[in-house]
Structure formats: C-alpha cells, structure tokens
C-alpha cells in the first residue's frame, strides 16, 4: 500500500492511494467553549440540502452532547472499540510518543489508523479497506435522544421528577460537539469506495460522492469513522455533506458572488464557527500563511485541534477543546495537544484575543487578517499568569484582499429596555 504523510500523526501512514493535495483546502475551527446547542446550524443545513424524501434520517450537520450523545448513536465509542480490539489482536497500543516538531506538531502517533488496522487485522478477501462498521437504522434515528433531558419532566413550572432519573446522569460535566464532514485529507469514504465514485476536488479539497457512479454499496458509510457518509433509500445511493460548494466557489448572490462560508457556519448563533480555505504545500503540509486566521489558530496559537486524529484521515475540522472537561477524555478525543490548547485559550495572548473576534462577523470567507493596536484596557493575574487586554482592532480581508470588516476586542454593551426585557 502507498505511504502518505499525515502531519497530524507526525509520520507516514498507509493509504490505498498515492498522495495528491489540493491547492486550497476547505477547513474550519469550532470553539466548543461557546456552543449553546441551539441547533440553528443543523436546521440551516437540513433546510438547504436534506429536506427531501429519503433524507429523513440525514443530518449532515449535527450537534451532540458529549459524553453520552452521538449521531449515529455511540459512533465514536463503537469505532474506538473496534480500533482497540484491533490493537489487542495485533499486540499494539493506541498511544502517542515522540517530541513535537515542525512537521509533527503533536508528536508521533504510534498506534494503527483505521487503514492500517484493516490491512493488518482484516482478512484480505473481505475487500474491506478500512476498519469500520455499518450503523443500524435505529442508530440513525433520534439524533439527540437522551441528551440534556435525562431527568423526566412531570408537568408544571420546573416540574422535574421527584424520583429522579433511572438513567445514569452526568452530574458534573458535559459539552456540545458540533460535527460535519471533515473533508479529510485522506478520506476513509473515498478509500473504501470500490467504484471510485468519491472524489476530492483539487480546487478546494471538498469531498463529494458522484451520484451517477455510486451504486449504494455503502462501503463509505461503513468506512467513515466520523459516520458522515449516509445512505439514501429512495435514490439507493449514498450522500454526504457537500461543503456548500456553490457558496465556497462564490456563487452566492447575497454576498456579491465572493467565496462564502457554508450555511451551518454562517448561521451560527453562538459565533463559534469560522471556516476558510487554506493553502497547502505539495507534500500536504500547510503553507506558512501567517495572515490566515485558520493557520494562526491551528499552527501558531495551536488552540484548535483535530477530532480523533488517531483515526488517520487527517480531518480538516479543528476544535478549541472545552476547558472544563477532564483531560484524559479530551486527550483521547483531540490528541496530545489538549493541555497546551486549553492553557492558551484560558489565558489568551494579545493576538489570540483579537483573532477570536473574527468569528461570525461576516459570511464571506476571510483569507487574511491584520491587527491594529489599541489601548490597554485591563490587566490582571490569572492562576499566576499575567493577562492583559488591549482594545485592538482586527481587520478581515477577502480573497482578493478587499476589506470585509473590522471589529474591536471590546464589544459594545447593550442593555435591553425594561419594557422589552422578556420579549423575543
């Protein structure tokens, strides 16, 4: 099997195809600390792409409550278990090691990916190229079952059950995990397709399923470790998130036909989402683009981390981990960069504070930013570390360098008129 370089794993890995990288790659950052699980993103996607017959169980965008929620149910626990069993069979361990370096910012993953685990532990005759499983229909239904409501409601104001809940209740922590297709650098869905019906676009790295070539074998559904390829019974072919490619290409009249963020990003009420197109080198690493907010968040500040990098698909979705969640859980989910990311996010430096202000001020894609320095407005010491706040201005620029907007670190404070205090 060809060897490809996966920078998130800090090493080469096996993949069924040779490496080829797009000029630009669709990528995004989600700040889990800010999500309120309003599901506006979910509905924005649903009402754009999956409102037709046969798509009833499809949620290309979903927001689930961790640790107990998942769409499809228990997807991550299931794939982690499969991977764990594969390691047990072959005597390895899913662990990280080595020193972080330029081409290996999180050190080196010493375990097996879903591709390697399949090659080593699955019978070659089975034609299964990726370790995975097919969720049952029941697992695709009720995407948010048991989430946020494990205590029964018995009517009346605050009428919670006096008996409590018989479900195991998470009493101290949970968080919301926002999920879309990661438009992976090494897509498992693409690797698994026996008909080569899945392709990664050279212009933006968006991964699409050719609806004409697909015959609905569901190998992609089985292979995608994130479970973001889905089968449609009415057309009998598979579908997946299309990255709102007409918007990304710049066919959105509302924004003047410039590259525009996807519907789920643009609608985010919690302002937790930032999407862009990042420049890639021929070897798959990111071009050092110091002016790109995504490059800054992922490669300089290192506050945003890939979801389950150990699966090996090199996902292009990055998450600022929730700062109140036990670290072992987060390290399993986002890799070894978690502690550093939370430290930097909790006591942000001057540039990070300004860049975080760029989230959701506009739906046109930000290609670069600049910061104009402002006055120091606050300083203190948090857990022994100095924190300074400057009212800097972050300026966002679009594809051709046109200014999109400017925003300041200090935000205007609006107090709602008492007369309208409770109106919506």
């Amino acid at each position: 099997m060809p060897q490809v370089y996966n920078w998130q794993l800090g090493r080469k890995m096996e993949y069924p195809y040779e490496e080829h990288h797009p000029d630009l790659q669709f990528a995004f950052v989600f700040n889990t600390n800010r999500c309120i699980a309003c599901q506006t993103c979910t509905m924005a996607c649903k009402s754009t792409w999956t409102f037709s017959k046969g798509q009833e169980l499809m949620w290309w965008n979903n927001v689930e409550t961790k640790p107990y929620g998942g769409y499809p149910q228990n997807w991550d626990a299931k794939i982690l278990k499969l991977l764990d069993e594969a390691h047990a069979r072959s005597g390895g361990e899913m662990k990280w090691g080595g020193k972080p370096g330029e081409r290996a910012p999180y050190g080196e993953y010493r375990g097996m990916t879903v591709f390697e685990a399949a090659a080593r532990t699955i019978n070659a005759d089975s034609q299964q190229r990726v370790l995975g499983y097919l969720p049952t229909e029941a697992e695709w239904t009720s995407p948010n079952i048991f989430e946020d409501n494990s205590t029964p409601y018995e009517g009346g104001p605050f009428g919670l059950s006096k008996d409590g809940a018989s479900l195991p209740e998470h009493k101290s922590w949970f968080f919301y995990l926002q999920r879309i297709c990661n438009h992976c650098t090494y897509p498992a869905c693409l690797a698994a397709c026996p008909r080569k019906a899945i392709y990664k676009r050279p212009e933006d790295g968006i991964v699409l399923i050719d609806q004409e070539r697909c015959r609905g074998y569901r190998r992609c559904v089985e292979a995608c470790p994130y479970k973001k390829a889905m089968y449609r019974p009415t057309t009998r072919v598979s579908e997946k998130c299309v990255g709102c490619y007409p918007r990304v290409e710049g066919h959105e009249p509302l924004t003047g036909n410039v590259p525009t963020e996807t519907r789920c990003m643009a609608s985010c009420v919690g302002q937790i989402r930032l999407q862009g197109l990042v420049r890639k080198n021929k070897d798959g690493t990111w071009v050092e683009d110091r002016k790109s907010p995504l490059y800054y968040l992922i490669h300089v500040a290192k506050v945003a981390l890939p979801l389950y990098p150990q699966f090996g698909t090199e996902p292009n979705g990055y998450y600022i981990p929730p700062r109140w969640v036990p670290r072992p859980y987060l390290r399993q989910m986002f890799g070894p960069g978690v502690d550093e990311a939370i430290e930097r996010y909790t006591i942000p430096d001057r540039e990070l504070l300004a860049v975080l202000q760029l989230f959701r001020k506009d739906q046109r894609i930000i290609f670069s930013y600049k910061i104009e320095e402002g006055k120091k407005v606050y300083e203190t010491t948090i857990r022994g570390k100095k924190f300074e706040m400057f009212n800097d201005t972050a300026i966002a620029y679009g594809k051709d360098g046109q200014e999109l907007f400017r925003t300041t670190v200090e935000e205007p404070f609006h107090i709602r008129d008492a007369k309208h205090a409770n109106s919506i």
């Binding site: 640790p67 107990y68 228990n74 049952t136 029941a138 697992e139 009720s142 079952i145 048991f146 494990s150 205590t151 029964p152 605050f158 059950s161 008996d163 409590g164 809940a165 018989s166 479900l167 195991p168 209740e169 998470h170 009493k171 101290s172 922590w173 700062r323 109140w324 969640v325 036990p326 670290r327 859980y329 006055k375 120091k376 407005v377 606050y378 300083e379 203190t380 010491t381 948090i382 857990r383």
Partner: protein, 92 residues
C-alpha cells in the same frame, strides 16, 4: 419513564455510562462557571446561588460533595483575579 426497567435488548435504550469526574475536573468546572457568569455581570451572591440551589444539579453536586468552603474559596479567588483593575497611564 423513570420507573421503567432498563432493557438491554431495546435498541433505543440508553447504554452510555457515567464518566467519573476527578477533583481537578471539579475545579476546572467551577472556575469555568464562575468566570463565565462573572463576565455576564453576576455578583458574588448570585454566583453562589448557582451552587447552593439544588436545581443546578452539576454545580450543586460539587457544593455538596466538596463543601461550601471549597466553592467559596475558589469563587473568591476568581473574583479577586478578575477584580476591576486600573490600567496605569504609562502602560499605553
């Protein structure tokens, strides 16, 4: 609903399990809650109510299990860290 017996063969049955919270996790969570609500304008009394009131199951559990002193100690430390500070003229 709460009185129904757990049925392992029911595919829609909840099969998650509680992940234990460590002492450090309690501290991280209390800090996060206090900082977020402090920045929203809550004063000490209102912040403490988030822990005293059994309606807020997560924060109240910490209050019961770790004790009032643990919560108020951490609360006061965070309040002190985020106290309004004058910025010296020469700093700008």
């Amino acid at each position: 609903m709460s009185k129904e017996e757990f049925e392992e063969t029911d595919p829609m049955e909840f099969i998650g399990m509680g992940v234990p919270a460590t002492a450090q996790a309690d501290e991280d969570m209390v800090r996060a809650v206090v900082e977020e609500f402090l920045l929203l304008g809550f004063d000490r009394d209102r912040l403490l109510r988030l822990f005293r009131d059994p309606f807020y199951a997560g924060t109240h559990r910490v209050f019961v299990e770790r004790g009032e002193e643990f919560v108020t100690g951490l609360l006061d430390r965070v309040l002190e860290e985020w106290a309004p500070a004058e910025v010296a003229e020469g700093d700008n």
